[in-house]
């Protein structure tokens, strides 16, 4: 598989074409919620993401955005991955995904951590391209910021 095919794996292309969580949803009134707008100033890609938290569980993620297939697919995969998870799990997934993006294409030695990422592990190929790492992290940055804004992190 060429480097290009490693980056644009079918699972990424599928998510980019039919993204999950796209379309902003009003959170239930009794949940803590937060919203964040993030832009990648080098290319103009942007995302507005909303999260709502029920107790300590991320109960809903929705977003609107425009950008390349990597940024759209990453936001989609992240939405699926974190929804229904405890805040502490989400923080761990966020850290693992950042480690993966810093791996320069080598992936992670910790196979359990990689497994926990599910489809997000398909982004290993992206980490070979320094200019594209920010694309993959755009949605994650919006999630982190909206969680902080929700007040659910304590």
């Amino acid at each position: 598989m060429s480097s290009l095919e490693q980056m644009y794996q079918q699972v990424i292309l599928d998510h980019a074409k039919r993204p999950h969580g796209r379309g902003l949803v009003d959170p239930p009134a009794d949940h803590r919620s937060g919203e964040s707008h993030q832009v990648n100033p080098t290319c103009g890609d942007e995302i507005t993401l909303r999260v709502d938290v029920d107790g300590s569980t991320v109960s809903g993620v929705s977003w609107e955005g425009q950008g390349c297939s990597i940024s759209q697919a990453s936001a989609s995969v992240m939405t699926e991955l974190v929804t229904g998870h405890d805040l502490s799990d989400v923080a761990r997934l966020d850290a693992v995904f950042h480690d993966l993006m810093a791996s320069r294409g080598k992936g992670l030695d910790d196979e359990d951590a990689l497994d926990a990422l599910g489809d997000a592990s398909a982004f290993t190929g992206v980490s070979q391209y320094p200019a594209r790492i920010k694309c993959a992290l755009l949605g994650w940055a919006a999630l982190k910021d909206s969680l902080a804004r929700s007040g659910a992190l304590g």
């Binding site: 290009l4 980056m7 644009y8 290319c43 103009g44 890609d45 942007e46 950008g67 297939s69 594209r132």
Partner: protein
């Protein structure tokens, strides 16, 4: 733009091969051994050996502080520095005293904007009246500007109370002059515009804009970054008051560029960066300033880079800018053929008339970043993003485009390879 009776021929295949052999970087491979197809010259050009050698030679043989010191090295360094200024001046049809070294075109445009600011704050005495702004005065730009020729004017307006106005562009990216008299009015004090758009490649109607500015006594500022490397440019003939261009886009080093100013205008312009080398008499209480261009060259200058810029200008002069322009006109005609590829839409003029070989485009269903990545995998370097022109992209309803741009060393074969690779992009992403 160039209306000569006898158009000199473009470069022959042998000449083009010789040109390419002068650029060491063009010989390298990328992405697993693929020959480099460099189509990002509008961002920065590659450098010929003579430029690289000129910088090394300066440091090996002549390095010393210029305009001071009584030793031989200081003399030789000063001579090299000023010879470079003369070469750059000749290259753009200016006089030596009309070329100010700056760190680049962005710095040159900011220098002008801050000179207006300083004059407005009362600096420069009666001579600086032309640079003094009042609330309600207007500064005119265009929707096609690079951020470097937009943001400094926004900031100047914020500091002085002047009002920013602009010409829109039509669907081809051409500056819309249908209502010049309502945009450039008695209130207009500055008309600043790009000679050639770094996005669309469209050549601006310089004569019309200069004439309209002159009718109301406004100062004209030309961003010539994208024209000077590709067209014969005679700033005296264009009759603009001020102009900015950078070395790195015209085969020269980074870190140096030039501000051109008509002599009497530079004489009247207050200094911006102050300190050493730009003064006449300094007392503890006050300072008088050197005449231009030194008035605007405070501190130690980028001497080796300036020498490199001078050599780049000479190298282009010797090749002949009319022939460079003809070669690139042929390349532009090859580049716009991407418009024939299904799903590819050119942002800007679709034909080769009054444009340079800079073509931005979108591919339906595929983001510009993804387009660039697939091309990169074939060794083809293009720019993706908004190319520092967000308002123009907004005008066309896109956040990002991909851009292919040529220079003197670009070949028709490279553009054919680009077209072929671009033809396969939609299939790669499974877009019908």
């Amino acid at each position: 733009m160039t209306t000569t009776d006898t158009v000199r021929p473009s470069l022959t295949a042998a000449e083009l091969a010789a040109v390419r052999a002068d650029f060491p970087l063009l010989g390298r491979t990328v992405r697993g051994g693929r020959p480099l197809v460099y189509l990002d010259s509008a961002a920065t050009s590659q450098k010929p050996n003579v430029v690289l050698e000129a910088e090394v030679d300066f440091y090996e043989q002549r390095n010393a502080a210029v305009h001071r010191g009584a030793h031989q090295l200081a003399e030789e360094a000063t001579e090299a520095f000023e010879d470079a200024r003369a070469a750059v001046a000749r290259f753009v049809g200016a006089d030596e005293g009309e070329i100010v070294w700056t760190p680049g075109a962005t710095a040159a445009l900011n220098l002008v904007a801050y000179a207006f600011s300083n004059a407005t704050a009362g600096r420069g005495g009666a001579a600086a009246e032309r640079f003094r702004l009042s609330p309600g005065d207007e500064i005119v730009v265009t929707e096609a500007e690079h951020h470097a020729n937009l943001v400094p004017w926004q900031e100047l307006c914020a500091r002085t109370g002047a009002v920013l106005r602009w010409f829109g562009v039509d669907d081809d990216g051409r500056i819309d002059l249908s209502d010049v008299a309502s945009v450039i009015t008695e209130r207009t004090r500055v008309v600043a515009f790009g000679h050639v758009s770094n996005v669309t490649g469209a050549i601006a109607p310089v004569a019309e804009l200069v004439a309209a500015a002159k009718r109301v006594g406004a100062v004209t500022v030309l961003d010539a970054c994208q024209s000077v490397p590709h067209l014969p440019v005679d700033l005296h003939a264009l009759d603009v008051d001020l102009a900015a261009f950078s070395a790195h886009k015209m085969l020269g080093p980074t870190g140096v560029g030039a501000l051109y100013g008509q002599r009497e205008l530079l004489e009247a312009m207050p200094p911006v960066t102050t300190g050493g080398s730009m003064v006449e008499v300094v007392t503890m209480a006050e300072t008088t300033y050197a005449p231009p261009p030194q008035r605007f060259e405070a501190g130690t200058q980028m001497v080796a880079q300036a020498v490199g810029m001078g050599v780049a200008a000479q190298w282009l002069d010797e090749l002949g800018m009319d022939r460079v322009a003809e070669h690139e006109r042929e390349l532009a005609a090859e580049l716009v053929r991407i418009g024939e590829i299904p799903g590819v839409r050119i942002v800007g003029p679709a034909d080769a008339r009054d444009r340079l070989a800079v073509v931005s485009f979108v591919v339906d269903g595929v983001h510009a970043h993804d387009v660039g990545q697939v091309l990169d995998d074939k060794g083809i370097a293009v720019r993706v993003g908004h190319h520092c022109a967000q308002p123009l992209h907004r005008r066309f309803g896109v956040a990002a485009t991909a851009r292919a741009s040529a220079s003197v060393y670009t070949t028709a074969e490279e553009i054919a390879a680009f077209r072929e690779a671009l033809s396969g992009v939609r299939a790669f992403f499974g877009v019908d």
